[in-house]
Amino acid sequence: MGSKITFLFLLFIIFFGSFLRLANLNGNPNGLYVDEASPAVNARLIAQTGKDEYGKEYPLSFRFLGSYTPPLYTYVTSLISHNGEPSIFIARLTSAISGILLIIVIFIFTKVLGMNNITSLFTTFIFTISPGAIFYSRIGYEINLGFLLYSLGCLFLYLSLNNQKFLSLGFGILALSIYAYHTQKLLVPFTIILFLLIFRKKFFSKKIVKNLLFSFILFVLFILPQIFIFFTPANTSRGVGLFYKEAIFQQASLMNIPILVSVPISFLREFTSQYFAYFSPRNLFFQPDSDLQRSLPELSIFYPWMVILYLVGIFVLIKQAKLNKGKFTVMLFLLAPIPASLTGDPFATQRALILILPLILIMAYGLQYLPKKGLVLVFLLSIFSMISLYRSLAVLLPNERAKIWGYGFSQLAEEIKKRPDEKFLIDSGRIKPAYIILAFFLKIPPEKLQLAADPNIKNDYYNNTLWNDHYIITNFETRSISWEEDIYKDQILVGDELAISQAQAKEHFLTKLFEIKSPNKEIIFLGFKTNPELKCKSSFDSKRC
């Protein structure tokens, strides 16, 4: 296939991929998840004041509830949204752009690995329409940006095998990816060490070692700010907090052998089971992530038929394992699930998103060995897959998963706006932290939001992991409802069906003001006006009336 036609097809794929990633970005996923609201709000605050919601100037890691998120996504979003109106589209745009750029990176990667134009185009197309790649391009937090930077860094690492000038670029971009997502903090050092070990003959010669040293210094300089906070909870809370220590000791206690033997065996078993789950065709091609917020309904990372390309690809890859491209792909393939395998969540697609890169490359190896008729079949299956993608992405996701995605908060914000003189108490017992999502929709001014936060946090920013859900901002407050006190105050109580039942409403003379339902007709929020006068008359409480 000629280069002009290849370029035209590539343009078409990029255009189509952009459509899949940008269409109705504002409304699908339907709502705003708390993990999206935090970087979006902080991006606005950084753009306007240079400080985050706690008043910390340009943090190295953003404090998010009781945890921390790497800063790059927030800073990039703050550049995009500079002085602009906050919108869900802007909150998700960095991710979507990363997804579109990834299409180009995948095409270049396949070309660099020596695939012909047809295989490269097919591989790029398969990546473009993969449910996992599309889904994570449409959510407004850091994972996809981390995926882009890691892939780009790896591309330059591979290019450096033929031209050492690319090494420093590879190291630099990989260092940058550490600022994008937690997984890369563990994965990037592993990748660099293993890469240098596997291809040591290329880099440890007298002529080239200078370049290697320069790249290493550049890498250290890039990650220096992260090293400063490396041993603080800003870094360790996610890494150590998610490790399955309890499961290991529980398994070890069941073995009737000394603890020095049983603990390593239990760890090995747990780690191996988690690790192999990331290569399991059942998880990759059929059963979606069990976390409903992190998956498309009924679709996993890839379409089921792609398993053929995966299995053939693995076989071809093993045959080519002695070639540089084979060694490099195997390295990426075996490394990618390691960080995710150290966490207790079964098959956490979010933490292993970078696995898509080696998997797609493996499918490219498989595609290379398909006859022309096979390629036609792949194309037809891809087209057929568009129907199931439409079902999952456009029909089921915005309707079935709306509640999980924080649907209803924009409507609640409208209710709060409608009643500026009334006080709202939003029950936080059963709802994801509401203050940050409402701060997004209500466009709370920076100074008011920063004033609402605990002032002590700023002074010990990277060490303070205590989380208090009690916030008072403008006319709303978030905390658990106290049924002994709150019914005696003139305010509007907001909660879900279980937080405020019909019986409680009747008992405490509450008047229903509004009801917010999901597209699936599930009740998300109920708003009740208290009636302190009537309550006091019915059960006089001298302290409260």
């Binding site: 089971s273 456009a394 089921l396």
Partner: protein, 213 residues
């Protein structure tokens, strides 16, 4: 001799012995015949195993929906109202709604489920952990330390192009895809293949340690 060791060195066969000892003889024989490539004898024992697999497995319909699945389907059908989005008009015109939420989809999903469960190594080496199937009453069939041997054996047999083994192995996967996994003895039809793959891996490691090849 070493093959016999691998036949017995797993908890799967002992579970079968404790629950349904009658199956053990054809199970051991079919493993040995498959290894020795005694086609006719293997086929005989394989069909006996298949018979036992069929009578011990609780059949699952490819089309019937339980109450919860029916509720989900009726809810989902509401999302295709042409009034909700202009693209739904196309769906209504081509009757795609019934295609996507109807029997075709149910059959397709269940076939996929059976197939992917059959080829999921975590089910054989980790009792389905970390994504346990509560309904399948999973148990650890082989110790996880055999997994590397299994993978090496698989690579060796597939790269040798042992068509006799490969074809029967694929046929077994297809049969189990049809039968399903609702069996408290597990999908034991595949037992001989896994044992032989582990054994093959073991022989290769042994050969590597002895001769460096």
């Amino acid at each position: 001799m070493s093959l016999l060791l691998f036949i017995l060195l797993n908890s799967w066969i002992w579970k079968i012995i404790s629950l349904f000892p009658l199956i053990v003889v054809p199970l051991i024989l079919s493993t040995i015949f498959l290894y020795k490539k005694q086609n006719i004898l293997f086929l005989v024992t394989f069909f006996i195993l298949l018979y036992f697999q069929l009578i011990t497995t609780i059949s699952q319909s490819f089309t019937l929906l339980d109450n919860d699945e029916q509720r989900v389907r009726s809810e989902r059908l509401q999302f295709y109202k042409p009034s909700l989005h202009f693209t739904r008009v196309i769906f209504a015109r081509f009757n795609l709604r019934d295609f996507l939420e109807g029997d075709f989809n149910t059959i397709q999903t269940r076939i996929y489920r059976n197939f992917f469960e059959t080829i999921d190594l975590n089910i054989y080496f980790f009792a389905g952990h970390p994504r346990e199937r509560v309904w399948a009453d999973d148990f650890e069939k082989f110790s996880f330390i055999f997994l590397p041997l299994f993978l090496i054996g698989m690579y060796k047999i597939f790269s040798k192009g042992d068509m006799y083994f490969i074809l029967f192995f694929l046929a077994t996967i297809i049969i189990l895809t049809g039968i399903g996994h609702k069996n408290n003895l597990g999908p034991f039809l595949i037992f001989p293949f896994i044992v032989i793959l582990i054994h093959e891996g073991f022989l290769n490691i042994l050969n590597f340690l002895k001769n460096g090849k």
